[in-house]
């Protein structure tokens, strides 16, 4: 029985590495990493609302509500960033609002808080078959859209005004990027938890940006660093009997510190 859970965990880590390579790298290029942790907490708020609903009203997958919440936030922030230069305030407000919602519902479902706790710190070794389906479908969708719009997204991140002048619909592409980030974050939520989404999505991409330079190099490097962190975390957790996502986050952070000395 442990075998299937382990295999699922390893597959999940590969899929997470794909998200880090694509969405993570572009978030680093755009300087939108605060947005990523904001969205992770927005997703957490959605999930705790989902748990509350399924306990009191009708059955619904909390991750589905998490997805709705984070995509909604992504669209709002996409619009806000188009209107003003500094969106960090808007993201901060979303962050605070999300945490208030999360704490509100978690305090109402106290006896089931362990379910929610699973989404805060995640557990990649407890993934169900339906979690795997959700994870694979979201990652495949994100990756396909990412590569279809790859150059347009790059252009819009690099120089939005010129992109717009050449007829690209900047608001549309920025929103697309934000929605892709939101979907990627929700995919990771069950595996690594809201707190550690940043550790596995952004930290590998940020290290890779420092180590490998070019756009393609950053993408390839982020995949490898995220994979090393993820698989290393799972492997060590079996011996040390602690949460794999925490170990993965530590490995990623150590790699980042090393990249600083380059």
């Amino acid at each position: 029985m442990l075998d299937i859970l382990l295999i699922r965990a390893l597959i999940a880590m590969v899929l997470i590495a794909v998200v880090s390579a694509t969405i993570g790298s572009f978030s680093v290029f755009r300087g939108s990493t605060f947005f990523v942790s904001g969205i992770a907490h927005g997703a957490l708020a959605g999930a705790s609302l989902g748990i509350f609903i399924s306990l009191n009203f009708f059955g619904v997958d909390p991750l589905l509500i998490a997805l709705l919440f984070s995509v909604f936030f992504a669209v709002i922030i996409g619009y806000a960033s188009h209107r003003s230069e500094n969106v960090d305030i808007a993201i901060g407000v979303m962050f605070a609002f999300s945490m208030s919602i999360a704490v509100l519902f978690l305090s109402m479902i106290r006896e089931y808080a362990s379910v929610a706790w699973g989404l805060i710190i995640g557990d990649v070794l407890l993934l169900t078959a339906s979690d795997m389906i959700l994870l694979s479908v979201s990652v495949v969708t994100v990756v396909i859209l990412f590569f279809v719009f790859y150059r347009r997204l790059l252009f819009v991140i690099f120089d939005p005004e010129s992109a717009e002048a050449l007829g690209l619909h900047v608001l549309r592409y920025e929103t697309l990027l934000f929605v892709l980030i939101a979907v990627g974050v929700v995919a990771l939520l069950k595996c690594v938890g809201a707190i550690l989404v940043y550790a596995l999505l952004i930290v590998p991409a940020a290290s890779s940006r420092r180590l490998f330079g070019s756009v393609e190099g950053t993408i390839a490097g982020a995949f490898i660093i995220s994979l090393i962190s993820g698989l290393g975390g799972v492997y060590l957790s079996i011996y040390l009997n602690v949460a794999p996502s925490a170990l993965a986050g530590l490995i990623a952070a150590i790699i980042y510190s090393i990249s600083l000395f380059r």
């Binding site: 680093v28 290029f29 755009r30 991140i157 690099f158 120089d159 005004e161 002048a165």
Partner: protein, 259 residues
């Protein structure tokens, strides 16, 4: 992909009537009406915050405006593929580790998926024109400010637009770069309309057809000799600026005015 408007002379490239742009109620430019011939080179001058960038953005259809802007008889958004825009360099995100070739190829390939050999050839020609083809594989963010500006200039001409809209293209350029780009402008203006925001008109005096002095409104619009006068410059910048005249040519003393 030849230009539809090449060879067409004395056609007005741009007609602007009663152009007003507001940002959340703040009036950035007001009641601007001018006609720009094709081909020609037009310099836009004015102090910081005068609305120069705003004027260019309205010509490109990038911001909402009141009044009419027509480019080759159409609204700006309809002729976007004929416009080339070089934004002020500060607007560019250097966090993206693009190579020089990627930067120049972006406008050519951003709307399709693959890179054609023909695209590469055009990108190389554009970089050749600004003397940066040797940097083909270099990282854009590792270049000096002036080199970056040359690459961005190449990116602006790579699509072979009929109208070039350039926002302070020399702000980081040293003398040599400036002269090389001016040389290029001399060639380009034979068949293209160039609208260029400058703080220092001196190096372009010989090839400028018209000057717009802009400070929220148009203070003056005409040839260099008509417009660049001590009176006008004092009105524009609010301080006395000597002008030296030699026949049709005149020079602004202490050219780079960031008043």
């Amino acid at each position: 992909m030849g230009s539809r408007y090449r060879g067409v002379r004395n056609l007005s490239a741009i007609e602007v009537k009663n152009l007003t742009v507001r940002y959340d109620g703040y009036v950035a430019i007001e009641d601007v009406s001018i006609t720009i011939d094709h081909p020609s080179l037009v310099v836009v001058m004015g102090p910081n915050g005068a609305g120069k960038t705003t004027f260019l953005k309205a010509l490109l259809g990038l911001i909402p405006y009141n009044g009419t802007v027509s480019i080759f008889g159409k609204s700006p958004r309809k002729v976007r593929d004929r416009l080339g825009y070089l934004p002020q360099r500060e607007r560019i995100n250097l966090n993206v580790p693009l190579k020089v070739r990627d930067v120049v190829l972006l406008p050519l390939i951003s709307r399709k998926t693959g890179i054609k050999r023909y695209d590469v050839k055009r990108a190389k020609e554009a970089l050749e024109a600004v003397g940066m083809v040797d940097f083909w594989d270099s990282r854009f963010d590792s270049l000096s400010g002036g080199q970056q500006q040359r690459v961005l200039f190449a990116r602006t001409i790579v699509t072979d637009p009929d109208i070039l809209i350039l926002d302070e293209p020399f702000s980081a350029a040293d003398v040599r770069t400036k002269l090389a780009l001016i040389d290029l402008l001399h060639k380009l203006k034979r068949e293209k309309t160039v609208i260029i925001v400058l703080h220092d008109i001196n190096p372009l005096v010989e090839c400028t057809d018209r000057v717009i002095l802009l400070n929220r409104r148009v203070l003056a619009y005409g040839t260099v000799a008509e417009v660049i006068t001590e009176d006008n410059l004092e009105k524009l910048y609010g301080t006395k600026i000597p002008v030296i005249r030699q026949g049709p040519v005149c020079y602004v003393v202490g050219g780079d005015r960031h008043a």
